[in-house]
């Protein structure tokens, strides 16, 4: 008999396929885990709809749950319930330590260009706020590219969603 806690612990060991410093649980994409007998139902919210890692995440979750001896049912919920605000405080710290600036809090009405161009974003390497927006878009849909003028280091900024 599998317990909910075992499932959460197993899911917490799955790294994000594109930012492996953070786990799926840290990322906040697991909305719920429901165990009844040997059936485990997981509600999973994608980060970006075009993220090519979605299938990899889904398969990894199913594999971990099967390894616990249960049948996995992974339900993808494509609504507005995932936000970068759901990244856990531990997750934000792991991102920063991995060289990814964690996202700014979601504000009412979404981010504005003028905010992105402001220098209120901290460099994850030296902590300076003297940073500039290089590109709204980056190597994956969830990241922007910024440049730190203090330590002269480009860095990736997790987009606020």
């Amino acid at each position: 008999m599998v317990t909910e806690e075992q499932v959460w612990n197993a899911l917490a060991e799955i790294p994000d396929p594109e930012i492996p410093v953070i786990s799926l649980v840290d990322l906040g994409v697991i909305r719920s885990v429901d165990v009844s007998r040997d059936q485990v139902r997981v509600e999973f919210t994608p980060t970006f709809l075009g993220c090519p890692a979605l299938e990899v995440m889904r398969d990894a979750m199913a594999a971990r749950i099967s390894a616990l001896g249960a049948d996995a049912q992974i339900e993808v919920i494509s609504d507005d319930s995932w936000s970068t605000d759901r990244i856990t405080p531990e997750g934000r710290e792991k991102l920063r330590a991995g060289g990814f600036a964690p996202p700014a809090p979601r504000e009412v009405g979404g981010p504005k260009l003028v905010q992105l161009q402001s220098n209120a974003f901290r460099c994850p390497y030296c902590g300076s706020q003297d940073t500039t927006l290089e590109n709204i878009f980056g190597p994956t849909p969830c990241r922007s590219v910024r440049y730190c003028r203090s330590c002269r280091q480009p860095f990736e900024q997790f987009k606020t969603i």
């Binding site: 970006f48 709809l49 075009g50 609504d79 507005d80 590109n135 878009f137 980056g138």
Partner: protein, 190 residues
């Protein structure tokens, strides 16, 4: 087919075709930043297309892939605006980007008000991603707005936005490229 399914197909077709067109800049955009931007925007648009195709597919008893790739070019409901192959014309590409994102914003805003929580929720999620596309389009609009070539492209492309019943030969050419692999391996699942 209900009006609502028709609407999902219009949006999905627009996003799929524009996603392909945007991806044509990968590797050859005038700036490295724009290679990255247009590639990322293309990826988002195709993700949105899939989400709308999935809703339509459930109503029609089919799959998202079949709707995206197994219809004939004349069955697509996309706008003529997204069909055109604009590479290597950067001014026209930015003009289309701006026209499309502006129109798409209004369409998504209306869907966010839907009584169906699934539709409203999906539209709200898409809108948060599209906010970044709109910022990018706006930034380029401000840079190019005084350029006569850009103004001319806006005037030329604007009337195409609402044309959905007649397609250009360019759509059929794109369809050939887009569905080539799928047609060559019958019954393949990926």
């Amino acid at each position: 087919m209900t009006d609502q399914v028709q609407k999902f197909l219009e949006i999905a077709d627009d996003e799929l075709i524009l996603g392909w067109r945007n991806s044509e800049w990968t590797g050859i955009a005038p700036l490295l930043e724009e290679d990255v931007a247009f590639s990322s925007i293309a990826q988002n648009e195709i993700g949105h297309a899939r989400a709308w195709y999935e809703l339509a597919a459930r109503e029609l008893g089919t799959t998202a892939d079949e709707l995206a790739f197994d219809r004939r070019p004349e069955e697509y409901r996309c706008s003529r605006l997204v069909e055109l192959r604009l590479v290597p014309d950067w001014a026209a590409t930015i003009a289309r980007h701006h026209l499309y994102e502006t129109a798409d914003e209004a369409r998504i805003a209306a869907l966010k008000q839907s009584d169906d929580p699934e539709i409203a929720g999906l539209a709200a999620k898409i809108d948060r991603e599209e906010a970044y596309h709109r910022m990018h389009a706006q930034m380029w609009f401000e840079r190019l707005q005084d350029e006569p070539r850009f103004q001319a492209a806006l005037e030329e492309l604007r009337p195409l936005l609402d044309v959905r019943d007649e397609h250009t030969p360019e759509l059929a050419e794109l369809w050939e490229e887009m569905t080539m692999v799928r047609r060559s391996v019958a019954g393949a699942t990926w």
